[in-house]
Amino acid sequence: MISFEPSEDQQLILGTVADFAKSALLPRARKFEAAREVSAEVRGAIQEMALGAAGVPESLGGQGLGLLTAVLINEELAYGDAAAPFGLPSFGPFTLAALELGDDAQQRALLEPLLGAAAFGAVAWSEAQPNRDQPGFVTVAKPAGDGFELSGEKSFVSNAAVAAQFVVFAQVDAAQGWNGIGAFIVKQGAKGLEVTGRHETLGLACANFGQVKLDRVAVGKADRLLGGGDFAAATIRFFAKYSLTIAARQVGLARSAFDLTREYCDMRKAFGKPIGHFQAVAFNLADRHMDIESARELVRRAAWSFDAKKDEKACLLATAQAVAHAHEVAMRTTDDAVQLHGGAGFMRDVIVEKMMRDARQMALSGMTTAQMDQLAVLLLTDQALDPAVVLPTPETQSVFT
């Protein structure tokens, strides 16, 4: 059946999260931005609600509510402050990396500290420069003893400084190019691991984006994440699901910017009437409303496809379409929000300028619109999903994880 109504449980959770986002996040968004982190108090409150664990299977200590519920929660939190989820433990890519790439024992080991003690995890994927000698990462995993030694430098890693554990991607087999990469569990404080500097970014100030330097960091054989056999497919799935979470935040952010702007256009008068009563302004709002409503439903549809265990290609295509659309919509909406506020929109007194910066930055987290379009076309034309072409490698736009 075609039905757009979330389940009663989902509606209940949504109501609670929406209230929380409006009362606890929205008024503090500027404070978090200035402090460059989400306050411990708010982190604690969200931990108590166990929101980060919603999508994690029950067998691993989560709530097993599925990707759709997780996506709905992300959308509502982002309505309050889209940057905030980036500064919360268990909302980051680490959880999804553990679920998609790890085996049972690894999943348990990786997720327990996250869900129990509210520790951060991080995924070290990107590198500042592409490898100019051959396809693949510059960071290498060299066989050493029973395990590997990791050496190199990873960039654009969210929560690098505060993470207790990392999933680090590195080149295992240089000759295999992008088919020769691997992922490894590394603990903070491991010998040879150094978190260097925090990136100053346009938006998402609470995300704590940093760099990770690895100098012959020793990891065991059991620390390699194999993605259940098909590592490339698992990595694509990880990026798809993580990007979908980001897309949900884009939708929440866009809704929030839109609501503020609509209210402003109702109230602000020019030439003797509310500016929203001029067609140029009203049509602009109508277009953005269509954008947001469609992006919202496409994101839900993609999440539902995964939950309903649709064919993997269908899930990926739905995700690619939803993410690409949501990124564009959020950027258009927040840009128009600033524009329709006029000069006031440019001032830090009004929050829409922050929203515009956050949307821009989010569109580079997970996979970008261009990367998702590329994925969609390969799926549409029945081509193999070559990781070199599909993954957001340093050979294309660099992305934040």
Partner: protein, 406 residues
């Protein structure tokens, strides 16, 4: 529960129409376009088939007669099913849905405002069309009044047991072949919509003529006619809803509002045509371009294709939401307009880009004739049933506080 699965009936309808679309309708689509007609034999067969698909899932009936009043506690699937059918049928041929025998766009106002006797009389003629196919039509637009409906000038003056109508109607779908047309006229142009009266004017009524049959850019297989009324006496029994319906200002117009639900169906048709072009372009890219080669220009083609695809999906999801709301009797004027506005745009873009993607091939009316046909067909989907601009007015009024008119 959130779910986007077709039910068994919808799946069956979609598959049946898709099959027939591919094997029977598509192969004749170009011929119909050139001959500016869909041959009667085909329409007869198709009509008989659609009659066989009885019950809740008859998209033809819902499209032609408008949504039925239903019990809000027992949501139907009819609007959802109709949208799925409409998309599939338009995918096969853009004109066919508009050419189908039956009440056509005259159906919704008759269903919404007609007296029981009128419904019996005018819907009755479509009950048995085994010998002769019949059509109804809807006459609102005039040379001087399109989107601004209140500006119609066709006049009606009561004279004894009849009204005398004078004026011109244009762009009337199936206007020439219709057994009857719902004609809008005004008792007094200064009263705006409050002065409007709607009549069921029957073919052959003295003073009622078919004028020019239009030559169009697209939807050429479908008849678009001009209608002329010269001192045309229409019996008072043909005043839609009866005289009392017009005693209060609200009576008639309120009833008219109940057929917002045709907008998502038009959106679904637009998506069907856009999807046809988009799928054609996907096939063309798969067969003709070597995407595995890292040629930079392929990236631009890929981006266009992907964009067309996701815009169509965005339009479809809004359309499905609008019909889902209709099935649950949730007011959906805004959502209906959003689906129509987005679908019109997305489908035009898809048809436009499909030609671009296929390159020179795309414009040849021999090898890839369907592409150039869809390009011609689709434009009107952002114009009829409320232009994109009118849809944005509908949406704006529901977004802004206290906005009655611009």
């Amino acid at each position: 529960m959130y779910e986007l699965e077709l039910n068994g009936q919808q799946r069956m309808l979609k598959d049946a129409l898709s099959d027939m679309g591919k094997n029977v309708i598509r192969p004749q689509s170009l011929k119909w376009d050139r001959e500016k007609n869909i041959d009667t034999e085909f329409l007869r067969t198709f009509y008989a088939m659609s009659q066989a698909m009885k019950g809740d899932a008859n998209p033809m009936e819902d499209f032609q007669e408008g949504p039925k009043q239903r019990d809000p506690k027992k949501p139907s699937q009819a609007n959802r099913t109709a949208a799925i059918g409409a998309e599939e049928l338009a995918w096969a041929d853009a004109s066919i849905m508009l050419c189908l025998p039956g009440a056509g766009l005259g159906g919704p106002p008759l269903r919404a405002t007609g007296t029981p006797e009128q419904k019996e009389r005018f819907f009755g003629i479509f009950r048995d069309m085994s010998k002769e196919l019949r059509w109804g039509a809807y006459g609102l637009t005039e040379p001087g009044a399109g989107s601004d409906v209140a500006a119609i000038r066709t006049s009606c003056r009561k004279d004894g047991d009849a009204y005398v109508l004078n004026g011109r109607k244009c762009y009337i779908t199936n206007g020439g072949r219709a057994s009857w047309v719902v004609i809008f006229a005004t008792v007094d142009p200064t009263q705006g919509r409050a002065g409007h009266r709607a009549f069921v004017v029957e073919q052959g009524t003295p003073g009622f003529f078919v004028g020019k049959i239009e030559e169009k850019m697209g939807l050429r297989a479908n008849e678009t006619a001009e209608l002329v009324l010269e001192d045309c006496r229409v019996p008072i029994d043909n005043l839609l809803g009866g005289e009392e319906k017009y005693q209060t200002k609200e009576g008639f117009m309120t009833a008219m509002k109940t057929f917002d639900n045709t907008r998502p169906l038009v959106a679904a048709m637009a998506i069907g045509i856009g999807r046809a072009a988009y799928e054609y372009a996907c096939d063309f890219v798969r067969d003709n371009y070597v995407l595995s080669r890292p040629i930079p220009r392929y990236a631009a083609i890929a981006e266009r294709l992907a964009r067309a695809g996701r815009q169509l999906e965005a339009a479809r999801i809004l359309t499905w939401k609008a019909v889902w709301m209709a099935d649950h009797s949730i007011p959906n004027a805004k959502e209906a307009s959003m689906s129509k506005a987005l679908a019109g745009q997305a489908a035009i873009r898809a048809c436009y880009d499909a030609i671009e993607i296929c390159g020179a091939h795309g414009t040849l009316s021999e090898d890839h004739a369907l592409l150039e046909k869809w390009f011609r067909d689709i434009k009107v989907y952002d114009i009829f049933e409320g232009t994109g601009q009118i849809q944005r007015i509908v949406i704006s009024k529901r977004l802004m506080t206290g906005l009655k008119a611009f």
